[in-house]
């Protein structure tokens, strides 16, 4: 069974008042992760196919072709893990 750990290299809270979380996907898995997320989340807009503004359930987030994503308004790490788990399953 595929787990979040298979795709995620690290998560890091941002410095600043926003309290966003940046997720970096593993280099060798990033393309697969991006593909999976794009298939699940609803696309609001994108630029040049490298930056994607997405929504999934009540959450909006941005996904970058470089294999990073920035999530905002998350309650805690559990909520992030649950979200990633659904997006990457």
């Amino acid at each position: 069974m595929v787990t979040t750990e298979d795709y995620v290299a690290r998560t890091e809270g941002t410095c600043g008042k926003e309290q966003d979380v940046i997720v970096t996907f593993k280099f060798d898995k990033k393309d697969e992760a991006v593909k999976k997320i794009l298939a699940k989340a609803a696309l609001k807009k994108s630029i040049a196919g490298i930056v994607f503004e997405l929504t999934f359930r009540k959450f909006s987030f941005r996904l970058y072709g470089s294999g990073k994503a920035i999530f905002r308004d998350l309650k805690d790490k559990d909520e992030l893990n649950a979200l990633l788990s659904e997006l990457l399953s």
Binding site: T14, C15, G16, K17, E18, I47, V51, E53, S66
Partner: protein, 411 residues
């Protein structure tokens, strides 16, 4: 003027690609890249001279000691200090300021005394003073910053009185790049019998800094922001002040003698000479060697040339950044009072979004508070993105950066 294209040949990392784009490194206020001369000096040290210093008579130890002491001398000349007695090697600016806060502050501050800092300081020039004030009961007072990020000199200087024991101010703001007139502030501090500490983390790597001309009592800076390795930095202190201070940490290297007295059943200890009195334990010898090479590299270029190049890049970047839709530049844009650091934002996007977007194009910029939350509160900003230039950056890189900024503006 310096030739950034020739300089770039010395920096192996600048040849790499990030996300299939040529690397553009605009995060120099955070840390600088390293030239092959510094990398080779470190390699040469470990391959041929590695040993502990000041401890052995064998050849390698003598060579390592000579290199380490030469590094102190080289740094002393770089800032026009009297000699190596006045240049203490530490881990970086943060440790240098902590050293003064504890080694000087613990023995010289008491209830009723005042420490003056500004609201534009990096956390490393705020937190140690708040920590020491809790122990000594001395009060920390904060000088105001104007809306454009410049220091409110009148308010700052009005805080300085006979109660003031030390005034701590950054030479250059790490958020806005504003250059403070530290010489003026130091004069006022001295007129009131106070000492003055200058945070030189963003000035020593980018402009000529002359401690005698400034009349600074202390100057703190980091090696890694000026082409040197991480984990090595400098505390300059006037010799008589350093001599009057107690050590920061105890252990090997910082003592001359530790003698057990059977009658008192205690050890009597005498301190080593400067600067070793403040360098407890085995020092970062290789870091010192790397820093020496970095200083030599900068001296060959000339610090006036470094300053002029960054001024040129800042003047080139500002109008082009302003021209980008939705881009906002924070703080003064008067290049006569600022150096190569530009904080900015894009309407509707967080600074982290901007940084991630740029990263996608191989452009490295910093986002967040930059360890200066009080200044962001003054600007009423939750965070900022920041570009900061150095000797290897070019106008073409700024062109590429502003092209991408324009794209971000369309998002």
């Amino acid at each position: 003027m310096l030739d950034p294209y020739k300089i770039r040949e010395d920096f192996p990392i600048l040849k790499r690609k990030v996300n299939d784009n040529p690397l553009i490194y605009f995060d120099n206020a955070s840390t600088s890249q390293k030239p092959k001369q510094v990398i080779n000096a470190i390699k040469e040290f470990y391959e041929n001279h590695n040993a502990n210093v000041h401890r052995a008579v064998h050849t390698l130890s003598q060579e390592a000691t000579e290199l380490y002491e030469s590094a102190h001398e080289e740094v002393a000349k770089f800032i026009n200090a009297e000699g190596m007695e006045e240049t203490v090697f530490v881990r970086g600016t943060t440790e240098a300021i902590n050293l003064v806060a504890y080694a000087w502050g613990l023995h010289n501050l008491k209830k009723g005394d005042e420490i003056i800092v500004s609201l534009m300081e990096h956390h490393s020039n705020i937190v140690p003073w708040e920590m020491i004030s809790k122990i000594t009961m001395a009060k920390v007072k904060y000088g105001k910053v104007n809306d454009d990020g410049t220091l409110d000199y009148e308010s700052f200087e009005n805080l300085i009185s006979r109660k003031t024991k030390i005034v701590c101010l950054s030479h250059v703001s790490n958020v806005t790049g504003i250059v403070n007139d530290v010489k003026r502030v130091i004069k006022v501090a001295h007129e009131n019998g106070a000492l003055a500490l200058v945070d030189g983390a963003q000035s020593a790597p980018h402009m000529p800094v002359n401690v005698k001309e400034l009349d600074a009592d202390f100057l703190a800076f980091s090696g890694h922001k000026m082409l040197g390795p991480t984990g090595i930095g400098v505390l300059y202190g006037k010799k008589d002040i350093l001599e009057s201070m107690e050590p920061f940490q105890g252990g090997g290297e910082m003592i001359r003698e530790v003698s057990f007295n059977p009658k008192t059943k205690r050890c009597s200890i005498s301190w080593n000479v400067l600067p070793w009195k403040f360098e407890a334990g085995t020092p970062n010898v290789c870091g010192g060697v790397g820093l020496m090479e970095a200083v030599r590299y900068l001296k060959r270029i000339g610090m006036e040339n470094v300053k002029r190049h960054e001024e040129m890049l800042t003047k080139y970047a500002l109008p082009r950044m302003k021209n980008c839709e939705k881009a906002k530049i924070f703080g003064t844009q008067d290049t006569s009072v600022k150096c190569g650091i530009i904080p900015f934002g894009i309407d509707g996007l967080s600074s982290h979004d901007v940084a991630l977007f740029l990263d996608n194009y191989g452009i490295m910029v910093r986002s967040g508070f930059h360890c200066a939350q009080p200044l962001h509160e003054i600007f009423k900003l939750s965070s900022t993105a920041r570009v900061s230039f150095y000797i290897y950056n070019t106008r073409e890189e700024i062109d590429r950066f502003t092209e991408v900024l324009k794209e971000i503006g369309q998002f």
